[in-house]
Amino acid sequence: YKARDRDSGQFVALKSVRVQTNQDGLPLSTVREVALLKRLEQFDHPNIVRLMDVCATLRTDQETKVTLVFEHVDQDLRTYLEKVPAPGLPIQQIRDLMQQLLCGLTFLHSNRVLHRDLKPENILVTSRGQVKLADFGLARIYSCHMVLTPVVVTLWYRSPEVLLQTTYATPVDIWSTGCIFAEMFRRKPLFCGESEVDQLGKIFAVIGLPSEEEWPNDVTLSRQNFSPQNPQPITDCVPEISEKGAELLLEMLTFDPLKRISALNALDHPFFTE
């Protein structure tokens, strides 16, 4: 259901989680998503979806139900891009969407929150073109000594360090954002792998096979698994992108996470003042 508030005119929407009580209580993703959104809500950031309330209902003998009341947003970026007529989004609109996306991400990272599942379906766009990051079920509060789930982010938006199952942190969200940035121009995903290895192969076909020195040590997949390839001009994959846009995109799609641009620095990139 969704509802309109008679006073403010604002729309809210319900997201219900049903849990079989014979398990270990509420799912991790529900506990984390709500805890994170409650942590962030006091800042009321314009680019983060707002959680309005959480309503738990008394257990019946075999299930519990928790209902999350969110602010309602009409559509996500996937449907938004599908509706765009040829030749695609004007670059000024892409610039505006990316600025808002990075603003939301800078805010998350400055609160040590990794989203870990950025993709067009989890980026909401209101009828007035306001971007809101949503779906924090996979999100995590970063602390430097933490064991991390190795498999996060939907395959096509997954960064090389996650695909290689080595350590990861905020740069995983920047990689996903780079893939989404390219998709705003192409109106179709950039790297559509069918498996982890295939996804890596598609990535290296574009950014080139990293050097031996850059290859992380503690990974099972060795560099020899991939044929040597040079980077190809990013404009071959994203012909509509501007010069500064191509620069920014390559900084987001940098193999080494420590060399990848941060959300904060990306906001200062000349692409946004081009």
């Binding site: 209580g25 509420l26 506990v31 984390r32 409650k38 509060i141």
Partner: protein, 248 residues
């Protein structure tokens, strides 16, 4: 991740948010008529033992104690339910912070099966709702890296200071007199106690005593006097708990 530990905004954001998760007030004799400080200490010690036995991540115990104190500050509770409450707080803290969360069955086992899984799961919703689902609380551990990052110690010494500070933080969580302190102050006091507890080596003679205090106080915007008394309290707690363990 340098985007997190080198960014001043992250520390400022922690300092902004931390007050929101401090219990609303001291609860013994006010909200709690049946529960006394020694009971809280016994349950806290039991919870710490469970975390050590299960090799939980460092921040799970202080986080669970934050939930317990916030719940007790809001809801009058019978002493016979105190261990159940402790188990639920561990259950929730491990869901938020652990890669593999503690199972309901295992937690019941650690109470010698004096509680059932069903009771644990029912109370999970009650505690969540009473805490208004605000589980992402700030603990003193959240400040340690930010503080160490600003202290001019070599890596090996930092590792030692970090380890001692983590131990002191867990110790403070077992003592109710620290319940109302902001986590940043406890963290700063624990780092100060850890640095002072280690013999000064030549490289940082100057970083001692008052100038250490000044520097630490500046990092987390704490009053130097408050920091001093907090650190002294930590050192007294450390001394008394060492004595206790020697007697045992």
């Amino acid at each position: 991740d340098p985007n997190i530990y080198c960014d001043e905004r992250v520390l400022q954001s922690l300092l902004t948010v931390e007050d929101r998760y401090v219990p609303q007030g001291p609860y013994f004799k006010r909200v709690q008529k049946d529960i006394q400080p020694f009971m809280r200490r016994m349950v806290a010690t039991w919870m710490l033992e469970v975390c050590e036995e299960e090799k939980c991540e460092e921040d799970i115990f202080p986080l669970a104690m934050n939930y317990l104190d916030r719940f007790l500050a809001a809801v009058p509770t019978r002493k016979c339910f105190l261990q159940l409450l402790g188990a639920v707080c561990l259950f929730l803290a491990s869901k938020l912070k652990a890669c593999q969360s503690l199972s309901a069955r295992k937690l019941c086992m650690y109470t010698d099966n004096s509680i059932t899984s069903q009771q644990l799961l029912e109370w999970e919703l009650v505690v969540l709702s009473k805490l208004k689902w605000n589980l992402a609380a700030i603990t003193p551990l959240d400040f340690i890296e930010h503080i160490l990052h600003k202290l001019p110690f070599p890596e090996d010494r930092q590792t030692l200071i970090r380890k001692h500070a983590q131990t002191f933080i867990a110790l403070c969580a077992t003592d109710h007199s620290f319940t109302m302190y902001p986590p940043s102050m406890i963290a700063t006091g624990c780092v100060g106690a850890a640095v002072c507890g280690l013999q000064p080596n030549q490289s940082n003679q100057n970083l001692w005593g008052d100038n250490l205090m000044e520097l630490l106080a500046k990092i987390t915007h704490t009053e130097v006097d408050c920091l001093k008394s907090c650190q002294e309290q930590i050192e007294q707690l450390l001394t008394s708990s060492l004595k206790e363990s020697q007697q045992q």
